[in-house]
Symmetry: D2
Subunit: 327 residues, 4 copies
């Protein structure tokens, strides 16, 4: 299927993906997981919510957990280039008759709640409260030393439509996996704004659902230590896939599940993608090195399980594109 042409002057400026808002059933259990295993800093805690950030992040939060009856994904947060970009975004969504309304959100300036064409609930803002700089306060480091929020990955029933929607917002395709059919179809795609491999990735499947969020960590050894730590502090069953090297993105990775099943990737060492003449990289869906450069396929759960957005209907995939599965 056609790869989109990159738009250098999008209708509004999305700087980067910024934060996730999730619902969890037990804030204390989640806090133990994200603070002591993953190693995020708790920036604020109140009766109903927890706010976390990574070691290099100056923004108040990159992960918000809210107390709820059922696990759910709430919002995908993106940082805009300016207040004007926020207004342009509002206009853009309204023009397309997509949801878009300004809301009050703690620790953030003007915030727009919108939804993309597939129904993913978005949270756009320009200003957020700033925290103290802790990048060089190494006494705060714990777990795998998570540095910064890196990306979202969502299940989409129609990857081609998702790519085209985000391409129109100036997201740039870096890599994609395609079937080898006579009419090839894209089964997964990686798109960026900030200069890495992705801010947003799409996986063919029942959706929209959140597949995972990702934090960037310094080195593979931090990820290996996280494996050791999780295996010996009660989180053995929460390690879902990896560690390994992705063929796609070349990043070293680990996928873990939090106490509510929300999936987080720990991710390191992708590459710079700022060149305007960057050419996207195509992978065959059947290439054994695509998922993991070392040939290990992902488990079935990785392809099937994800976090639903409350009130957003989940649709089956338009095309049944079969990836290589471990079992």
């Amino acid at each position: 299927m056609p790869v989109p042409t990159h738009i250098f002057n999008p209708p509004f400026n999305v700087v980067r993906c910024s934060h996730a808002v999730l619902t969890v059933r037990d804030l204390e259990a989640s806090r133990a997981f994200y603070e002591r295993a993953i190693g995020l800093k708790v920036e604020h805690a109140d009766k109903g919510a927890l706010y976390f950030r990574g070691m290099e992040e100056r923004n108040h939060h990159s992960l918000v957990l809210k107390q709820g009856a059922e696990p759910a994904a709430q919002r995908l947060g993106f940082k805009m280039g300016s207040e004007e970009d926020l207004d342009r975004a509002a206009a853009f969504f309204k023009e397309r008759q997509l949801p878009a309304k300004f809301v009050e959100v703690p620790f953030q300036g003007r915030t727009l709640h919108a939804a993309d064409a597939q129904g993913n609930p978005l949270e756009l803002y320009f200003k957020m409260d700033q925290g103290e700089r802790i990048l060089q306060q190494y006494g705060h480091y714990a777990g795998c030393h998570p540095q910064r929020f890196d990306h979202f990955n969502v299940f989409t029933p129609d990857p081609q439509a998702s790519i085209e929607f985000y391409a129109a917002l100036g997201f740039r395709l870096t890599e994609y996996a395609e079937s080898d059919d006579p009419v090839p179809r894209i089964a997964a795609a990686w798109m960026h704004r900030k200069g890495g491999v992705h801010d947003m990735a799409f996986t063919n499947g029942r959706g929209p659902r959140l597949h995972h969020i990702a934090y960037w960590v310094p080195t593979a050894l931090n990820i290996i230590h996280l494996c050791d730590l999780m295996a010996s502090t009660g989180y053995l069953a929460n390690m879902e896939r990896g560690p390994g090297r992705h063929g796609i993105s070349n990043a070293f990775f680990l996928y873990v599940r939090d106490p509510d099943g929300h999936r987080t990737e720990l991710y390191t060492s992708d590459y710079l993608t700022v060149d305007p003449d960057f050419e996207p990289i195509r992978w065959s869906l059947r290439d054994p090195r695509r998922q993991t450069l070392w040939g290990t396929p992902a488990p079935r759960t990785w392809f099937e399980e994800g976090s639903e957005f409350p009130g957003v209907p989940v649709k089956p995939p338009v095309h049944d594109l079969k990836p290589v599965i471990a079992d």
Copy 2:
């Protein structure tokens, strides 16, 4: 001294620093150093020149060495956003009565030779030949696994003037070192275009001269291996400073000198700077953790020696700002 306001809409779009052109006296000796110690890939070699690139670079070259009678720095290369940006750049330099002419350069498209207000010779282009993707061809990896060209650092006799010139081109200040005088003066500054800590840095001193070029490497262990390798393959005396952690940038570093004395930094793990509301970080010139977070000052050579640009007069610094020196 005043920190410049960031300009979001510069007169032309510099994507990133891209490559250095240096003169060396013995191409074979230099090839041994950059190919077998540092680990760069030789992309092209002819009688008078060598072209190298890092493991993730698709551009044909990020380092060009030319045979010459005397060691010298020739050009600082920058990639533009488009051919139109190249024309806008030509107009910009001409309007300011700075050198600017289009030249033919092997393996590059239209190329503009210009000079900044301090006299640093620049080489601007949009298109460069592309090489095969070797990021995942690990059989090519050698030395410290250099991934990509990261930045230039130049001596300038007037850091404030240099900052203002590049700020006008849309370079953004990330960190700076300032004297604690009643009228504080900036002694060193780091400015970026691509989203890291810098594409271009300025060090107060006799200039303009090239202080160093830098390659980004995956982890500190690659740098430690380079130390072991250099110490045992005849390059013991070429190790000038480090390894260590910079206070500024938080990067892990090593500075080495090539057979002609040109300085290269191996550099890893700085942080993302794309946020539009990023606030520059100020360091006192006397903070022992500024140069090296662990307190070790740099040697005198590091503050005094650099590569001159042929035909470009070197001027003494306007202000005598005393950094902490090891001896």
Copy 3:
């Protein structure tokens, strides 16, 4: 089953496991694998054999490959404490009516070919030619920087009998895996002489056959680089298991197969076992963290495939002890 009492004054002094002798079908293909992927130094090559050593080894060889029609394991080499120990060993084997004869072996002093009670062919010596010290000649380092031969692992049809034979030689049990049956049976055991977790390990199964040899490498990152290197230089299918952290031994590991199917483990970071009051560690055969601390079971091939010793009959296991298998 009973754990043996450690014998502090064995009949002869085995210092450590030392080298393996294997038959391969294509010396050039094997050389490419062990020299360029694994990174061993070729110390000697002639028409019929290749001799390799690791970076810290002063002994002439720790791996000998001989040209042959069929892949086979030939000998397990052990270093003795003195020439007298060699004579005591000869007497010991003869007294038990086990094979034992002195032979001429290139690059070694007096060498005894013997066999243990299960039929594993042994090669005992005290003196070996010494090579130049290359530990600090980092220009020799390649692949995963293998430092030294670490251990043998053999399939045995009767682990209890194997343990008792080697315990009588002063090998000390460090860890073992046992069934949870009313009469528990040892399914695997690790025994050392040199002060690490093992020089010799036993795996229940059709035997005697060589399960694997192992080299000690400096860090997990060297093993991760080997994965990347193998995956991109034609050895993707040769990566059998890992990387991961063993529960047993706590070592970080990778298992690879050479072009003839001989298995090598790359191994790092076990612990010191020299204390006379060291207590062996028991693992339940069903503990998911035993094989890999992170819970990933080994593939079926790992439990079933091994290298036979020519002329040594292979017997089925006395007890059918079921480990956890990945499929």
Copy 4:
């Protein structure tokens, strides 16, 4: 000077160095340093003393800190092979008219307090209480993940005499630094019992004084993290030397000073020395790669400062052997 012949059957069996006993002025300040920066586990704390151990150690303690008015080194602890070895040791010291008496020591079995010929106070024992195995309880890991006590280094006024005393106890010389004088003299020596580069090292200088104790850590990255941690948690001035690679031993190292000035080395990646035909390695005292393979000399404090043993007179060195010093 003559290198001693190794004695394979010493008068008693010293298994390894085991623990240090130090006096500190403020137990809480010391606890913060060793527990939170270095990362040792506090095994026992009472009003007058703290007991620490490393992650892989089963013995109750490898570092004992006692409250006192002045900083001092108290005892160098060694583990014996058996109770009989302890009695043989007592006889050995008494025969030479050196101090030797059995004392009661908490958490240890029968314990012999003795002194070597230079006056270093020793503490010999066979049995010590055992702690729970925490090697695979990664939730206990902190700081630089110290694994085990590795060695002592003491200032001696007469290195040759010290070497000969310990050689008579079966300690084996692995490396030594010698002057290039017509009559060369040993200025420093490394001797082992347990199979690494050393359990005990000697440095020419005013002595006897304790130069440093050392803990073995998994990788260089753990040491780099310790540098970052110390630099940002109030211990910047406590970092004395490194990180770097020793020429001697090939180990990666960092030297730090505790709140009372006691020196600890964090140490990783030396090599195996169990071969009976191991040949000691000679270094010229003037070789720039001896102290640090990368050429950086140690600071003056490293050569001059050490911890005195109360009541043990300090003598000037017999020979004035000048090492290379940084200033």
